[in-house]
């Protein structure tokens, strides 16, 4: 396979040579990563970065103070997190009555937020596990930050079911712990399955993330150690930051010494964790959907829920990845070398696909509500959700449809899905739409169930709103701390997909996929 260097390709195009001169106008290659020529392998890292430059750039984010934007943003996020924490304290002291819950609508923003956050986490696992099994090398640019996002989102998610139980000091009863009454949990309840699924999901995601971080934390450790040795040679006192980094990363990196014998077992363990996380992530959101699907409430009692929830989770999660990483491309120097336009385009395509899956699920729900002949089910869809003349929550339903089904359709156009600003705006719309999806499922089904005498509207209180804002604050605070102190890219994995990471001295004809753009 003959191939041309992307820079060569771009200069040929500008000079009117090569394919462009032959009367064929190839699509705009953007930053060089959007080449659609089958003879050219699109680069995963731009500007021909060497191993040393990759280390320098990525460790630089974690070592040097970030730009002026960081502190104000951190202050705002921290304030929101503190407010949310106060609201939770108020809730625990006073009771769940501080939320707008009623006898009819006994799940509202709390469970909406729970499903919203846990869904956001799923993109991280999809990127780190499923794309790993499919050998999608572009995942190396996004997996670390997406996995971090998973963990922070699951922290936000896990909070809500814990505080919604009311008497939180009895929360230990969800775990099968021996007690003096010899009472055990009900293992036939999907709510209990949820406890096991979410706690397993959090733990496994944390282990996966930690394992990926071991070599990169060892890099940070060695760099801090080198700086300490350098200041010792200059007979200066070492900087406190370096001493702390050398110790903390020294402990956390487990004494990783980049041995090939270790790497071998590491890669096997990585593959095992990817293989375990793949069914796990599918099971978690399926089990979350069982919370609804196994009930008898019209609007919840549907068999389409598990795949529909999983697709929605991936959809919402990728939107959040884009929402966070597109601004990061603007504020961090050289970030665009690793997160190229092609990464954004790929994720926009995933948004389009999963958006269509979600759209299909919406229409199929509607179709089955009519086709099943179940008048209660159809009434939920028409009179509780869609019909503006009858359904008080029609605006929530149509917000969901326009954000989740209509807005991603712009990604059919290459120009729009390769424009970071457009992608960011759609990602924002999708994030809003996915929150409304859960609100629609939960509240519109509950607020008008079988007995018209019990019909109630749900009105959120300021505590509802501020708790949700607080969870966003906790998420953002944790994410800002992550980009400040840990490597935002998986350095070792990025180095391994660079073209110079492969042997060039022997004829390994069976490794065609190794030949990067440098050939």
């Amino acid at each position: 396979m003959s191939s041309i260097h992307p820079d060569q390709y771009v200069s040929d195009r500008l000079a009117g040579r090569g394919a462009a001169a032959a009367g064929y106008a190839p699509p705009d290659p953007g930053d060089g990563s959007l080449i659609e020529d089958p003879a050219v392998r699109a680069p995963l890292v731009l500007n021909n970065r060497s191993f040393g430059e990759v280390t320098e750039i990525i460790c630089g984010y974690a070592e040097k103070a970030p730009g002026k934007w960081w502190m104000p943003l951190f202050a705002i996020a921290g304030l929101a997190a503190a407010t949310g924490t106060l609201m939770i304290a108020y809730l625990i002291i006073t009771g769940v009555g501080v939320w707008g819950l009623t006898n009819q609508v006994d799940w509202a923003w709390d469970i909406t937020n729970f499903v919203f956050w846990i869904g956001i986490g799923h993109a991280g696992t999809l990127i780190s596990a499923i794309l790993c099994l499919f050998k999608q090398k572009w995942r190396t640019a996004v997996n670390r930050s997406a996995e971090a996002m998973t963990i922070f989102a699951v922290i936000c998610a896990g909070m809500f079911p814990a505080i919604h139980v009311g008497r939180i000091w009895f929360i230990w009863m969800v775990f099968p712990l021996p007690n003096s009454n010899s009472i055990w949990p009900n293992f036939r309840s999907p709510l209990l399955w949820d406890v096991f699924a979410v706690s397993t999901y959090f733990t496994v995601s944390l282990l996966f993330w930690f394992m990926g971080l071991i070599p990169d934390m060892a890099s940070l450790r060695d760099r801090a150690h080198k700086r300490m040795l350098a200041s010792k040679r200059r007979a200066e006192k070492p900087r406190l930051g370096d001493v702390i980094r050398a110790y903390v990363f020294g402990m956390l990196s487990m004494g990783w010494r980049f041995s090939s014998r270790h790497w071998h077992r590491y890669e096997v363990a990585y593959l095992i964790l990817a293989g375990l996380s793949t069914p796990l992530v599918l099971s978690v959101h399926s089990i979350v959907s069982f919370d609804f699907a196994t009930s008898v409430l019209p609007g919840w009692h549907t068999t389409i829920f598990p795949p529909y929830f999983v697709a929605g989770a991936i959809f919402g999660g990728f939107a959040m990845v884009l929402l966070l990483l597109i601004p990061a491309r603007e504020v961090f120097p050289n970030f665009r070398d690793f997160l190229t336009l092609r990464h954004i385009e790929n994720m926009a395509k995933i948004l389009l696909v999963t958006g269509m899956m979600v759209g299909f699920a919406y229409s199929m729900e509607f179709f089955i509500a009519w086709y099943s002949g179940n008048e209660y089910e159809l009434s939920v869809f028409l009179n509780n959700r869609a019909n503006p003349a009858k359904a008080p929550y029609w605006w929530a339903y149509w917000t969901m449809i326009s954000c989740n089904v209509i807005s991603p359709q712009v990604f059919w156009f290459r120009k729009l899905r390769t424009n970071p600003l457009v992608v960011w705006i759609v990602a924002l719309a999708v994030t809003i739409g996915m929150w409304f999806e859960r609100f629609v499922i939960i509240v519109t089904s509950l607020h008008r169930a079988f007995l018209p005498a019990e019909w109630h509207m749900f009105h959120p209180t300021p505590v509802d709103v501020l708790t949700f804002v607080g969870s966003c604050g906790i998420f953002l605070t944790l994410f800002l701390l992550f980009v400040r102190f840990l490597p935002v890219f998986a350095m070792a994995e990025i180095k391994a997909v660079l073209p110079q990471a492969h042997r060039h001295d022997h004829d390994d004809d069976h490794h065609d996929d190794h030949h990067g753009e440098a050939h």
Partner: protein, 205 residues
């Protein structure tokens, strides 16, 4: 991997067979020699040198690179790790224990809901699966670390300053002095001939 790697002060207490062998060589300053480390600038040269070390019959040696080199297993003549087998056995046992736990607790405290028999296995499936996955993930991480002899924050190589670039952009081959074929001069020649940009003695401090 010996216990004395972690707790050198214990070596005097151990029976003779378990004690680490006495160092055979000493540096000019008198410290025992841990091994020889050779530095390389790129993947191809370190792999070529690695093959020559493998073919010379060394067993206690290692290749250090900032990222996993594809094909390093063949270069070093490594056997495939047994980790998947261990994780599989542990994971399946954990899943079985998850089932046993639910079965016993449901019999011990039967809750009559849905008119189902308390020992019915179908509702136990999600938690059986989750317990299997949870314990397998721990087994994979802890198994990987313990087979690697980690955590081990101290290693003679860390005292060799140029080695700190193994986490950046340099490649190293380290041959332990405990290797039966180790000879300060012959091993050094082998590594130099293999194209190393520098070869150094590593002291065991």
């Amino acid at each position: 991997m010996a216990i004395t790697d972690y707790f050198p002060m214990l070596s005097g207490l151990l029976p003779k067979q378990l004690r680490p062998p006495a160092p055979r060589y000493a540096t000019p300053s008198g410290s025992p020699v841990a091994g020889l480390v050779a530095e390389f600038g790129d993947v191809s040269s370190v792999c070529r040198a690695g093959e020559s070390v493998r073919d010379a019959g060394y067993t206690k040696w290692d290749l250090h690179s900032p990222f996993p080199i594809h094909g390093a297993e063949q270069v070093m003549g490594m056997k495939r790790t047994k980790l998947p087998l261990a994780v599989g056995v542990i994971g399946l046992s954990a899943a079985g224990l998850g089932w046993l736990m639910q079965w016993w607790m449901s019999i011990n405290y039967p809750i009559v809901v849905q008119g189902k028999p308390p020992h019915a296995w179908q509702p136990f499936v999600p938690i059986i699966f989750e317990s299997g996955v949870l314990i397998s993930a721990f087994a994979a991480l802890i198994g990987m670390l313990s087979l690697n002899g980690l955590p081990r924050p101290h290693h003679p190589l860390f005292n060799h300053e140029p080695f700190l670039d193994a986490s950046n952009d340099r490649f190293f081959i380290y041959i332990e002095a405990l290797d039966p074929k180790f000879d300060p001069q012959k091993t050094r020649d082998l590594l130099t001939k293999g194209g190393a940009s520098r070869v150094d003695l590593v002291e065991d401090l």
